[in-house]
Amino acid sequence: MTAVLEIAGLQKTYRSRKGVRRALDGFDMVVEAGQVHGFLGPNGSGKTTTLRTLLGLIRPNGGRMAILGREVPEHLSEVAGQVGAIVESPQFFGNFTAQDTLALLAEAGGVRKERVHAVLELVGLRDRAKDRVKTYSLGMKQRLAVASALLKEPKLLILDEPANGLDPGGIREMRSLMRNLAESGMTVVLSSHILGEIQLICDSVTIISGGRRVAAGSVADVLASQSSAGVKVRLEPGVDMRAAVELLRANGAQVSVEHDHFTVGNAGNPAQITRILAEREIYLSELTPMSADLESVFLQLTGTAPVEGQNRQVDQSVVSAPAGGWGQ
């Protein structure tokens, strides 16, 4: 496979009176042709900065980027005709109709006018095409934004939160649209917070936190890399669960207590759990490996899982995954 999008060591620093903030700190990303690639990260992690930098809206302080094999921003104008993008929330001039908005973009970009009707049909806005954009709901504006990105029949489609504001039916339509586009040979980069959707749609993902890549690869690989360490533990009825939890924690286990069981997050060697508890004559009724979903992997990798009694601030996250597992 060939890489449609390559980013290596990307850096962006913002300077203000409050000091220097590294929005991107050596970020790397590779997207192969024909894939639907998920781009994940908590708020303030550098997702939008990455996309804006890639699209020439922000100047990087260092690093290398290439789209369709051409270095950007130097050769961005040569490949811009093959890249459709929406960045952050959809933004259009409210007093124009959807049809006018797209027709003006098509004219500015040298795209055939017939494409306007085709993409309006594709995103389900055909019957509202002559209404002013300011009368649109957020979901309809989102559809219009996707339509504008599809207008030039791009080889690479970059969508920042495309499902934002869509109703459940719209989310499902967007999902099937993404899949159809990928099947037609288009490469899609999808930034979203709806992790269930990403897991369903995407072939591969990149997770960013604190301006750095913390995980990348196929969805299955990323899930597998994190799921082996967690186990669900249930004790015999009537046994004091609190004593068992304290015992394991004293031995370095990361334990989360649930209603009638507990989980050990860093159980590299589950036999260690049975041994420690059995020594105190505490016996298990269940010990099962946990299969992680993308949400739990995301929360674990980015360190953004809610902690009882604490209010996490937007910039509080980790930049690298914990290495190894307890008990190994």
Binding site: R52, L55, G56, L57, I58, R59, P73, L76, S77, A80, V83, A85, V87, S89, P90, Q91, F92, F93, G94, N95, F96, D100, L104, L105, E107, A108, G109, G110, S148, K152
Partner: protein, 336 residues
């Protein structure tokens, strides 16, 4: 070229542009209608009526003079004599020349004399509209996110902003040429019906043409400055705010301070004076607190003449500064 035609369509499709042009057209029509109804053609009937009026005024003045003279002579030797000049010698006897019929003529539209003011009116109104429409054209694009959208399609910042500005300036050039032609035709008609074009020579027409050209330059600078300021601030309000600030600081504030400080030729610091200098080719400012003595003329105030090349230099400087700054920031700033 496709970007240029798309930007021209974007400009002309905007409701804001259409509303402002409609409003300006209505104001101009109201001015033309006002001039039509206020003025009258000076024919033999009007001249005869004016002459009759001035003759009647003269007769009344003579009667008054005779009454006053009689009363004055009667009052001599009485305490009332003090109310009159000594021996009634200083009483002024009116003459026919004191009551010229031209003063009683109804207002008439002399094209050569009155139309230059109308050219200035048109240029000032068009420049104001060009400033606001120019500011809104790019300001609304920045604040609505349209500019970012466009840059995703055409990642050539200077070309995008430059093409937008070119579309705006070409549009206002065409608009000013059409409006100037219609405005001139309208007032030729008004002069024919309610005045005269008799004094128009080819030189006078050339002068009117050059004045309209200077008006066009004023309109284009107005458009470019509004556009540039709104692009610098990435919002229409930036241009309008700077303008209101400039009017308050430079016109009211600075004008008051300079006049309190008795600064010589304080008017030279005010924007309208330079606009008049540009449109009327020159303006003479006099300092009445000074005396430039000559044996022939006595005490004359010092004067400063502002000419159209000086005003043109300032207009060009403002144009280059604002547009240059807007282009530089477009090239160098992150678009977030």
């Amino acid at each position: 070229m496709s970007l240029y035609s798309a930007e021209t369509k974007r400009l002309t499709k905007r409701r804001f542009t259409r509303l402002f042009l409609l409003g300006m057209t209505l104001i101009l029509l109201a001015i033309a209608a006002g001039m039509f109804f206020v003025n009258q053609k000076a024919g033999p009937e009007q001249i005869a009526s004016a002459k009759a009026q001035s003759q009647a005024d003269y007769q009344r003045a003579v009667e008054q003079y005779n009454q006053d003279k009689t009363q004055c002579q009667a009052d001599q030797g009485t305490p009332n004599a003090g109310r009159w000049p000594t021996n009634c010698e200083g009483l002024y006897e009116p003459t026919q020349d004191d009551f010229q019929y031209q003063w009683n003529m109804p207002p008439t539209f002399d094209f050569r004399e009155n139309f230059p003011n109308m050219v200035t009116t048109l240029a000032a109104l068009l420049a104001l509209v060009a400033f606001i429409v120019g500011a809104s054209f790019v300001g609304a694009e920045w604040s609505s996110g349209g500019m970012m959208n466009l840059l995703l399609w055409r990642p050539q910042r200077l070309k995008v902003l430059g093409t937008k500005l070119a579309a705006l300036l070409v549009f206002f050039t065409a608009l000013t040429v059409v409006f100037s032609a219609v405005w001139t035709g309208l007032f030729v008609g008004i002069a024919e019906l309610r005045g005269s074009t008799d004094s128009m020579t080819s030189g006078a027409w050339q002068s009117i043409g050059l004045m309209e050209l200077r008006g066009l330059a004023l309109v284009l600078v107005g458009a470019a400055v509004g556009f540039g300021l709104a692009s610098l601030g990435r919002h229409t309000a930036m241009a309008l705010g700077v303008t209101i600030g400039a009017v308050i600081v430079f016109q009211f504030g600075l004008g008051t301070v300079l006049s309190l400080a008795k600064v010589k030729f304080a008017e030279a610091y005010l924007i309208p004076v330079w606009m008049v200098a540009w449109m009327d080719k020159e303006i003479k400012i006099e300092d009445y607190n000074s005396c430039d003595f000559s044996s022939a003329g006595g005490c004359q105030p010092d004067s400063l003449t502002l000419t159209w090349p000086m005003a043109g230099g300032i207009l060009a400087g403002v144009f280059v500064l604002i547009v240059g700054l807007a282009m530089w920031t477009m090239r160098s700033r992150d678009i977030t």
